[in-house]
């Protein structure tokens, strides 16, 4: 197990470097990091040259990247162009997005897996076809449309929720945005669980469990579900990174000041340090989540052993 973890950690290094380098290049080479500093006007050449020197932008790109990564590993993500340290922005933004992501994941697990089990056990019945159709529709409607519609209905027409989230962004306020964020993944989780359950339902160990007289509830929860959850766990694990990145849309609709909001602002204002810093953390989150998922396999299915 220990050796496996070390091997996986080593494998993460090139992926981490590649992904951050890609984003770094996109921001620094294709964009003009200085342009954002002078607002909408063009920078005058003397100022631009001075700024470039100040931020080290006159050096070759690979050197900039190395310097940046060196700083990151000492906890210094640089300063945004307004002088605020990027770590400070992260400290305010990440808790909000983490709350949002937790709500989304809880929705995925509770609703998604429940619906998946129910439909998987009743494959071909009306409830199955109904849920399947609903998941198809949910997958087809892009998140920003779902978000705008729920905001229109619940927030504006019926007044059940406030259309925009306050700066505190408490758990209560984030329920509807969390549902919106989760919606598409929720549908995938349902479909994945359904397929998995329906496949395993016919397996020998389930027949044995039923034959030895176990109550149906125990057969489903202990035998069937545990074996069927592996692809679902994989999906949810890889989804954590996608959810935090995908929060850009949800956070924009509901005016939540989280990671997505900061990233969106950073990108529009060409605030290089903010963008690269946030993306670096997101990539790390994605990689760690993937690693945890792989380790979780062994817990779910003792047949998998990591040497």
């Amino acid at each position: 197990m220990g050796r496996y973890v070390i091997r996986r950690l080593l494998q993460m290094i090139p992926v981490f470097i590649g992904a951050t380098l890609l984003i770094f290049l996109m921001v620094n080479v294709m964009g003009d990091p200085i342009a954002g500093l002078c607002g909408d006007r063009q920078c005058d050449p003397a100022t631009a040259a001075q700024l470039e020197k100040e931020f080290g932008l006159d050096k070759p790109v690979w050197q900039q990247y190395l310097t940046y990564m060196g700083n990151v590993f000492t906890g210094d993500f640089g300063t945004a162009f307004n002088g605020q340290p990027v770590t400070e922005l992260m400290a305010t933004a990440f808790p909000v997005t983490i709350r949002l992501t937790i709500i989304a994941i809880v929705f995925e697990i509770v609703i998604g897996i429940t619906l998946g089990v129910v439909t998987g056990l009743r494959r071909g019945r009306p409830v199955d076809s109904g849920v399947l159709l609903v998941t198809l529709v949910v997958i087809s409607v892009p998140t920003f449309v779902t978000g705008l519609l729920l905001q229109l209905l619940l927030g504006v027409k019926w007044g059940w929720i406030k259309p925009s989230v306050s700066s505190d962004a408490t758990f209560g306020e984030l329920i509807v945005p969390g549902l919106v964020l989760a919606s598409v993944s929720l549908a995938y989780v349902t479909r994945l669980t359904r397929t998995s359950i329906a496949e395993n339902k016919r397996s020998d160990y389930v027949r044995t469990a039923i034959a030895k007289g176990l109550p149906r509830r125990r057969v489903v929860t202990r035998h069937l579900l545990r074996n069927s959850l592996i692809p679902v766990v994989t999906f949810i694990g890889t989804d954590i990174g996608a959810l935090m990145g995908g929060a850009i849309v949800t956070e924009r609709i509901f005016n939540i000041h989280g990671v997505g909001f900061q990233l969106y602002q950073g990108i529009l204002r060409q605030n290089t340090q903010t963008v690269v810093g946030f993306v670096t953390v997101l990539v790390l989150v994605f990689l760690v989540a993937n690693l945890l998922v792989d380790l979780l396999y062994a817990v779910l299915d003792p047949r998998i052993r990591y040497a």
């Binding site: 496996y4 091997r7 090139p14 992926v15 590649g18 992904a19 890609l22 984003i23 996109m26 921001v27 294709m30 003009d32 198809l136 997958i139 087809s140 409607v141 892009p142 998140t143 920003f144 449309v145 705008l148 519609l149 905001q151 229109l152 504006v156 598409v184 993944s185 995938y188 479909r191 994945l192 397929t195 592996i230 692809p231 994989t234 999906f235 890889t238 989804d239 990174g241 996608a242 959810l243 935090m244 990145g245 995908g246 850009i248 849309v249 924009r252 969106y264 990108i267 529009l268 060409q270 963008v275 993306v279 997101l282 990539v283 990689l287 993937n290 792989d294 047949r303 998998i304 040497a307």
Partner: protein
């Protein structure tokens, strides 16, 4: 070093894909996960013709699939919707008169009326005309992006799967890198610096971030196909690499790619709209559902119709492609027969 022992060939082609670790990444960000998951389901299925029917005439996987599809109402329904969409994108003026760019501020936010069944948006543009003309953009972006992704991804993935070795490992690591970048995020970063008004940057971006998905699928299914006896036989008979690839492997490995590409087409259309909604995708004067939805969202209280119609058209289009992909997958998966 002992490899982790998979319980059963869960996510890899026949359990023999030398994918190290138990990495089973399901996709590149929310929008494209279904395609991968479904593709991987299909990948497990033994590819190739599944024997002869009750009559003695041999039937290929494709003619079997076609027979199934013709009787599948989901396929017929989604096929009709897609045909209609293609027709509308080619000749929008047949069902909508007037120009989508002709707007009259005096009519801003007015509801449904003669000549404008969907009403007018915040700028006084005819929502019906704009919705009809928006189909062209969406279909163009979706089809071109899918073609690019499918071509690029299946060639790279297929070659890596066939030849294996160093390039295979390198390619696998490169796809890992692309999977670690959330799609919408990558789109924002990359497209925010582009000033072009055409659809090409958006298509280029989708190909750039979409190919690893297809490449993984193609790699897996080529690895499965190349272990078949008839491929080994062809090799023993001295067939060249290109002949084995084109004549024996490609026809038997292409099914999962087609399915994933069809479903991905729908998600690319949704992605284009999402990027346009965020203001980095297509830019006016291009008529796009994403732009219209974005423009209508501030008037959501007074003129919800300007938001609902393009949203509905968008959702219907995406739904049609996903349902088509679903139906094709069911038809091509011999396990479900």
């Amino acid at each position: 070093m002992p490899e982790p022992m998979p319980p059963e060939p869960l996510l890899s082609g026949g359990g023999r894909v030398p994918e190290d670790g138990a990495i089973a990444a399901t996709g590149m960000g929310g929008a494209m996960d279904l395609a991968t998951a479904e593709g991987e389901t299909l990948e497990r299925a033994p590819a190739g013709p599944d024997g002869t029917g009750p009559t003695d005439r041999p039937r290929s996987l494709w003619s079997d699939a076609w027979r199934d599809l013709r009787r599948n109402p989901v396929f017929i329904l989604s096929g009709l919707v897609i045909l209609f969409l293609v027709f509308v994108s080619l000749w929008p003026s047949v069902i909508a008169s007037g120009s989508p760019l002709k707007c009259d501020l005096a009519k801003a936010q007015e509801g449904s009326q003669q000549g404008a069944p969907f009403g007018y948006d915040g700028q006084g543009c005819n929502v019906y005309t704009r919705t009809v003309y928006g189909a062209r953009t969406s279909v163009t972006v979706g089809v071109l992006a899918t073609l690019g992704v499918a071509l690029f991804g299946s060639v790279l993935g297929g070659l890596a799967g066939f030849f294996g070795g160093v390039w295979d490992s390198v390619l696998s690591r490169i796809t890992d890198i692309f999977f670690a970048i959330p799609v919408v995020l990558g789109g924002l970063v990359l497209l925010s610096v582009v000033t072009s008004n055409t659809v090409w940057p958006v298509i280029g971006f989708m190909v750039l971030l979409g190919w690893p998905q297809i490449s993984r699928i193609a790699r897996g299914s080529v690895i499965t196909a190349k272990q078949n006896d008839y491929v080994q036989a062809a090799r023993a008979l001295g067939a060249s690499n290109s002949r084995m690839l084109l004549r024996h492997i490609a026809p038997n490995a292409v099914a999962p790619v087609i399915v994933v590409a069809t479903i991905a087409l729908g998600t690319y259309i949704a992605l284009e709209a999402t990027l346009s909604y965020l203001g980095v995708g297509l830019k006016p004067p291009t008529v796009s559902w994403g732009i219209d939805i974005s423009a209508a969202s501030p008037y959501i209280r007074n003129a919800p119709h300007a938001l609902l119609w393009p949203s509905g058209a968008l959702a219907l289009t995406v739904l049609a492609f996903i349902m088509l992909g679903d139906a094709v997958r069911d038809a091509l998966d011999p396990k479900l027969r």
